[in-house]
């Protein structure tokens, strides 16, 4: 029930935020922040009360009670669809990440949304609710539902409050994800049908569908359906082209959520569904996936280097970083998977922060074009320092979370394919190239005298506090990632046992 409440709080909170606009223009953002924080505290409160957290056991596919939380209620018995939510270490991490970044997103949009604030915050909260659903749903029908539905408020966020080319970006985002989602729907239904013909039961439950016996070709096709849906979201070369547009055009909070959380649903889907449901097929396919991952790492980095738009550069860097996740997942050993999970968390923070900086710059300069920036450190040293922190985080400085992630991925990958590792490792070099270029073009260099007229205001208390949360998180992950690793370990262990 805790999990249902988590989602409900956000849904109802969204309605409240929408309504609160009538009281006062500034009310919605306060309500939204309050709702997210309450949700987070509610979740933490329950987690702390759980004795299981100290002694994590591997969540067994055969026995939902071994999971940290499990909830099941009938929904559409005619189809064998139920409201089945469950939480294990990885989903718990993702839920925490979602809520923390949700609060960050509200903070990021504190001042830059000026119209229809109530509806804005409502959409924000509903998106978060959808994402939570994705991370917790273990009924494939329900999962698909959340998967699709979370896009609608996100679509509104981009289409209504986005930047100059928002219509195009929102449309592209929606069509890419929906079209790939349809493939997944076909896959899900086929899987259910196959399971039905084997067991005579209609069920969409993850627990029931694991270990469904099926022909090799069938498994291959079904796996591809899932795979495409997830890698489009991740996104992986060559399905990534919606991302630069969507991230660039979205309002700051939208970018934060998109990059910080939404992309992770793809990675989560791969780990939770695409591989365990079709272990043999996934392993047969792993080489292709890894090639795509490595290509994404390099391609994203090269394109990031070419960008002049601040947000677009970060967007391409996400493509590059998510390539590591794909590599990590399909290397399919503990090291690489831990790296992938770590990357999901760390990238969530580092990119969210960078997007928030981008948003702050856009708010102040009314441009994202780095050719019109330069020397901003001079005007806004605090923002510059913060930007520097997250830039070096994103280029994988040891001691910060992203390094742990990339190192583990590559280390795990090396066991599987040294040459692929070498190619992916190029991402470390190219990553440095674009990250530092970003810094150079915006904050360093000669101060642009035109900028002085904008009356640039440095980061204030709210922004610094938000940033500090993420900095502390990244440093924590960097020097003592063990809590995260420990949470994921039992899950990964039981997942690894699924494959031959």
């Amino acid at each position: 029930m805790v999990m249902v409440n988590l989602i409900l709080i956000l849904l109802v909170g969204g309605v409240l935020a929408l309504l609160s606009e009538r009281l006062d223009e500034n009310m919605p953002r306060k309500v939204a922040l309050g709702v997210v924080v309450v949700d987070l505290l509610y979740f933490l409160n329950h987690l702390l009360a759980m004795p299981e957290l100290n002694q994590l056991q591997a969540p067994l596919a055969s026995d939902p009670s071994t999971w940290l939380m499990h909830f099941r209620a009938d929904w559409i018995p005619a189809f064998g669809v139920s409201i089945e939510l469950a939480l294990d270490g990885i989903s718990m991490l993702m839920v925490l990440l979602t809520l923390v970044l949700g609060a960050v997103a509200v903070s990021a949009s504190w001042t830059d949304v000026t119209v229809r604030r109530g509806f804005f915050e409502a959409n924000l909260l509903w998106t978060l609710a959808g994402v939570l659903g994705v991370f917790m749903a273990l009924d494939l029908f329900l999962f698909f539902l959340f998967w699709e539905v979370m896009l609608i408020p996100m679509y509104f966020l981009i289409a209504i409050w986005g930047h100059e080319n928002r219509g195009y970006a929102a449309m592209k985002f929606f069509i890419f994800t929906q079209a790939s989602g349809l493939l997944m729907l076909v896959s899900i239904l086929t899987l259910v049908a196959v399971n039905h013909s084997a067991t005579g039961q209609w069920s969409f439950s993850y627990f029931a569908l694991l270990n469904t016996p099926m022909a090799e070709t069938t498994a291959h096709w079904l796996m591809v359906g899932f795979f495409i849906a997830f890698v489009v979201k991740l996104p992986v070369f060559p399905f990534h082209t919606w991302l630069p547009d969507a991230h660039t055009q979205a309002p700051t909070a939208g970018s934060v959520i998109l990059a910080g959380i939404l992309l992770k649903t793809g990675a989560y889907g791969l780990i939770r569904f695409a591989v365990p449901l079709f272990p043999d097929a996934a392993m047969d396919f792993s080489y292709v996936a890894m090639v795509l991952g490595a290509a994404g790492v390099v391609y994203g980095a090269v394109l990031a280097f070419a960008q002049t738009d601040f947000k677009r550069l970060i967007a391409y860097s996400s493509v590059s970083h998510m390539g590591f996740v794909l590599l990590g997942v399909y290397a399919w050993n503990e090291l690489a998977l831990q790296g992938a999970v770590m990357q999901m968390v760390a990238h969530g923070f580092s990119t969210a922060a960078l997007f928030m900086i981008a948003g702050s710059l856009q708010e102040r300069l009314h441009t994202r074009d780095m050719r019109e920036m330069g020397g901003l450190w001079h005007y806004m040293p605090r923002m510059g320092a913060v930007a520097m922190f997250f830039v070096v985080a994103s280029l994988g400085l040891p001691g910060l979370g992203n390094f742990v992630a990339e190192f583990l991925v590559l280390l795990g990958l090396f066991k599987v394919d040294p040459w692929m590792t070498a190619i992916a490792a190029l991402g470390l070099i190219t990553g440095a190239a674009y990250s530092l270029l970003l810094m150079q073009r915006s904050f360093q260099g000669e101060p642009n005298p035109k900028l002085a007229d904008h009356g640039l205001i440095d980061f204030g208390g709210r922004e610094m506090l938000t940033m500090a949360v993420m900095m502390v998180a990244l440093i924590g992950l960097g020097i003592y990632p063990q809590p995260v690793l420990d949470l994921a370990q039992p899950v990964l262990q039981s997942l690894l046992e699924v494959t031959p």
């Binding site: 018995p77 119209v115 679509y155 289409a159 449309m171 079209a179 349809l182 076909v186």
Partner: protein, 479 residues
């Protein structure tokens, strides 16, 4: 024919009664609002009649079959007619003389649809279809001014008559081949006839399908659709899109199942070709359409393409007839509800002003007419098959059925078509959400309370059917 049979015919009788009363009323005193009330009362009585008739389900002569399934669709269609009635009131109150005749036509057309739904014989099919059609011609051409309604009406008349001729000729060939005109009779004798003279049987069936395909506006019999949708008064368009098409599809299903057409592989190939073409071409046509009524016309082409998949699925050995029937029921119900929601909003916002049917005219609707805009948004999402809406569950059924029957090519077309469709459905939503910051850019007609309530009601039903379909599924399963 006995008393029981009469009870079973209660809906038809009620509608006929309404028609008679309307005629008498018109001869006594022409009054639009009285006519409106009589029609409304008639429809309500028909609804009651449909419930009443459930106790007496039986075949009534060889012509009609009264069963739960048909009664359900009768109910649905009469309810849709009620919605049309509500929408018509605002639309036609501005018309000049003899507007009460419109209600008579409406009632007659619904009567035709109900007969069509319950038909089990070529003659009742023809009667129902023609009664519905002829009344529709007049309804489409009802506005006294403007060329568009007239153009639409004459096009519909000629093309529809041509299609009827095809249908009739097809039945003539079937009759020549089998010596029977009832669906069941054709089904029983067809196999033998096939073995003797397949050409007669197959070309006859193909012609019947062509005639019915016209009414369903599947490719390549679709070309009339956008013109008629655009030209007709919006409530009539809504009627055409929901009641007419729905009833014809029900009739097609009966003919298809009773006639055991799914046994013939070549027919299925032909039907599959039509379905694939409809799914793709319908969506392609809608892609950049600027007129919302034409857009909905094209989208309906695609939707009947999806529905055909379900029928074709019957041909596979592994198909479960029950599931397929459920799928048809659900999809049609969802489609009718969603279409009504969409046309309710279009009728309310655009009225009969041709220029306001442009999508661009909906700019900023989201901020000016919340309820109407929400309703249209949900309708578009439902058409697009986004979860939590009725359309999704419908699509869910179609895909499930397709998978069970392993119709991979059709599924591929469905996926591609749906992917294309997202674009134009979303474009409408996007247009409505534009101009968030600016003051009123477009002038929208004020909506009346009844329109708002109607929009709200349809919105809730579409969502309810999508998010909590279990009761309805159980209900549909028992039909």
């Amino acid at each position: 024919m006995n008393a029981n049979s009469l009870m079973a015919l209660m809906p038809i009788l009620m509608l006929s009664l309404t028609a008679v009363v309307l005629m008498i009323q018109a001869s006594i005193k022409r009054d639009q609002s009285v006519a409106w009330f009589i029609s409304a009362l008639g429809f309500l009585l028909t609804l009651w009649g449909a419930g009443y008739a459930r106790e007496f389900t039986q075949p009534v002569t060889v012509l009609l079959i009264v069963d739960d399934w048909g009664l359900f669709f009768t109910t649905l269609i009469v309810a849709a007619a009620l919605v049309t009635l509500i929408l018509s009131r605002d639309t036609f109150s501005t018309e000049g003389e003899r507007k009460e005749e419109y209600y008579l036509l409406l009632v007659l057309s619904v009567l035709g649809a109900v007969v069509l739904i319950q038909s089990s014989h070529m003659v009742s099919l023809l009667l129902g279809m023609e009664l519905m059609g002829v009344a529709l011609y007049a309804m489409i051409a009802f506005p006294e001014k403007g060329q568009l309604p007239l153009e639409a009406s004459i096009k519909y008349l000629v093309l529809s008559a041509c299609a009827s001729a095809m249908l009739l000729y097809g039945f003539a060939l079937l009759y020549a081949a089998t010596g029977d005109l009832s669906y069941g009779g054709i089904g029983l004798k067809a196999m033998l006839a096939y073995q003797q003279n397949p050409i007669l049987l197959m070309s006859g069936t193909a012609m019947v399908l062509a005639g019915i395909g016209f009414k369903l506006s599947v490719v390549p019999f679709h070309m009339w659709t956008p013109d008629v949708y655009e030209g007709a008064p919006t409530p009539v368009t809504g009627f055409l899109a929901t009641i007419s098409k729905g009833a014809v599809f029900v009739a097609l299903t009966r003919f298809f199942v009773e006639g055991q057409l799914y046994e013939y592989q070549s027919l299925m190939t032909a039907l599959a070709a039509v379905a694939i073409a409809s799914m793709l071409i319908g969506n392609w046509l809608a892609l950049r359409q600027e007129n919302i009524k034409r857009l909905l016309a094209y989208s309906s082409i695609a939707h009947f393409g999806y529905l055909l998949v379900v029928l074709i699925a019957l041909s596979h050995e592994g198909a479960e007839a029950g599931l397929i029937r459920q799928a048809i029921t659900f999809y049609l119900a969802a489609y009718i509800l969603t279409t009504l929601a969409a046309f309710a909003v279009v009728a309310c916002i655009a009225g009969e002003d041709e220029s306001k049917n442009q999508i661009a005219a909906f700019d900023g609707l989201f901020w000016r007419r919340r309820i109407q805009a929400s309703s249209l948004t949900v309708a578009m999402l439902s058409f697009a098959g986004i979860p939590l809406t009725a359309g999704f569950v419908g699509k869910f059924y179609v895909i499930s059925v397709g998978i069970q029957s392993q119709l991979w090519w059709l599924l591929a077309a469905l996926v591609i078509g749906s992917a294309i469709a997202i674009y134009y459905y979303l474009r409408i939503i996007f247009t409505m959400t534009k101009s968030a910051g600016t003051a009123a850019s477009g002038q929208f007609r004020a909506s009346t309370a009844s329109q708002d309530v109607l929009a709200m009601l349809l919105l809730i039903m579409v969502l309810l059917l999508g998010s909590w379909p279990q009761p309805f599924i159980e209900f549909a399963g028992r039909l």
